[in-house]
Symmetry: C2
């Protein structure tokens, strides 16, 4: 069989980002970590870690880390069946999960937390947009993810979650100032929009659907869903907000829809690695139940 002490060292370096921190987390010396990884690299015949700051896995290294995650989860399921196996000091199992920022800011934090509070795991949540979390699943960087893609990544199961509803909104003063003569390609090309980061295409997609052509939007960048709302309230720009975050503001009139009746729905899916076994089934049930309440069901 493979050398699991060496594989644990590799996983720790990739998780912690440095040999020193990995050594501390496994309570061994950095030179022990370094020897184990070198031995593994000699056996596999290629580099497994890019010695950078922070350290990163090579493609082969990433594949091995994924294997370690799977084995750990399988062990955990075994502990469930054979409680005698699970020592008192048994370490919690790391479960890397990818979610989009808007889901984390609204509905998905609660089911993740409920799962993590009940199970002997350490959740490692990474955030990117729903198109990029699929990449993470494919590369094995995460065991489960909220994605925009229905088609299961290799080795994954996929479940529809429903749609996240967004509304294009801004403060009444902002609308008066920038859209006094209506919302169209001309006014949208001048009024500053809010985007989460340079990869965020939601505002452009909404504008394209409205105007039937591409509009080059001036963009403020603000990578925080809650700061997005604060910025909209202050009249900094218009943007697409998850309805869950601005319902109260729409009701009290501090934010208004740019064009009433033009919500933008983004269907989301939950995917998880099949090989990770029964442990993720509990997480999947929690996530699906929360999505059923929070997201728009077909």
């Amino acid at each position: 069989m493979l050398d699991y002490a060496a594989l644990s060292a590799l996983a720790a370096v990739v998780r912690e980002g440095s040999f020193e921190r990995a050594a501390r987390s496994l309570s061994v010396t950095p030179s022990a970590i370094s020897q184990r990884i070198r031995a593994l690299e000699e056996r596999v015949g290629c580099a497994l870690v890019v010695r950078d700051s922070p350290c990163r896995a090579t493609e082969t290294g990433r594949r091995l880390c994924q294997h370690v995650d799977h084995v750990r989860l399988l062990e955990q399921s075994l502990h469930g069946a054979l409680p005698a196996l699970a020592g008192q000091g048994e370490a919690r199992v790391p479960v890397p999960v990818g979610v989009n920022a808007d889901s984390l800011a609204t509905w998905v934090a609660a089911p993740l937390a409920a799962f993590a509070a009940a199970q002997p795991v350490l959740l490692e949540v990474s955030v990117d947009d729903q198109d990029h979390t699929t990449e993470w699943l494919r590369s094995g960087a995460v065991l489960a993810a909220v994605t925009a893609t229905a088609r299961p990544a290799a080795g994954c199961n996929s479940f529809p979650l429903g749609a996240m509803r967004y509304v294009a909104a801004a403060s009444p003063a902002f609308v008066r100032r920038h859209f006094g003569e209506g919302v169209g390609a001309g006014s949208l090309a001048r009024a500053p929009s809010l985007v989460f980061n340079t990869k965020d295409e939601l505002q452009s997609r909404w504008a394209r659907r409205l105007c039937h052509r591409d509009v080059q939007l001036p963009r403020h960048t603000l990578p925080s869903p809650h700061a997005f709302v604060t910025a909209a309230l202050a009249g900094m720009g218009w943007g697409l907000h998850p309805t869950g975050l601005i319902d109260a503001h729409l009701r009290d009139g501090s934010l208004v829809e740019l064009v009433p009746g033009t919500p933008f729905d983004v269907p989301l899916h939950w995917q998880h690695a099949r090989a990770a076994g029964g442990m993720l089934d509990g997480l999947t049930s929690e996530v699906l139940a929360a999505a059923r309440k929070a997201l728009l069901q077909p």
Copy 2:
């Protein structure tokens, strides 16, 4: 003088991450962008852009982008003094700013938004922890930042903002389950903590101050200040929360301090590039006024 059309192309590629998106944002063809950057690279004698996905600036490229930002801000101040210069369709000036996630989730979003709503700028807010925003200032990636460092980066002015107060807190059920026999090195080594990301040392620093030695904490990773609170409420782990985000929960008892009377204060500073001129003075006043109300003053 330098070729500012070429410099604008460079800045657009770095900002947008690709030649295609840069071309769209400047309303020219991708081949025009590519020619301008090649000409600039020949003149400077080294690569300015790493053609990757996304494209990144080389160190020299970054230095030139910083120069473009400064010149744009100086032009903007000139427009203030000579309104006739500022054409109607004058493009807004990009202002890259670095802040820490907890500041963005609490007090700094409002002054940033107030500034951006009033000035002809496009704010580009990047988030990292307060130790790393200093790096961005140094490298010229941002013109202003909330930092943990009082000492001004080269070419910057520095202003004390006051301290962000954190409290180590968890749900009452979590405290009963994991700290029934008190909070010490032993219980902290077993109870899962919450960290924002692998660089987040707050929890470790608080534990070290309490126990007078390093404690290896089991860690859930959750890169969202609001999800941090949701996770704490659900009993997923203990962590250091900005008091602004959990005051109400401490009052109604849904969260409790792990060890009453052990807040952790992180002094913050505002730094901005001197060369960027008068435009940033307005932003600085807004930020300092908001900090005076929200942060702990010495």
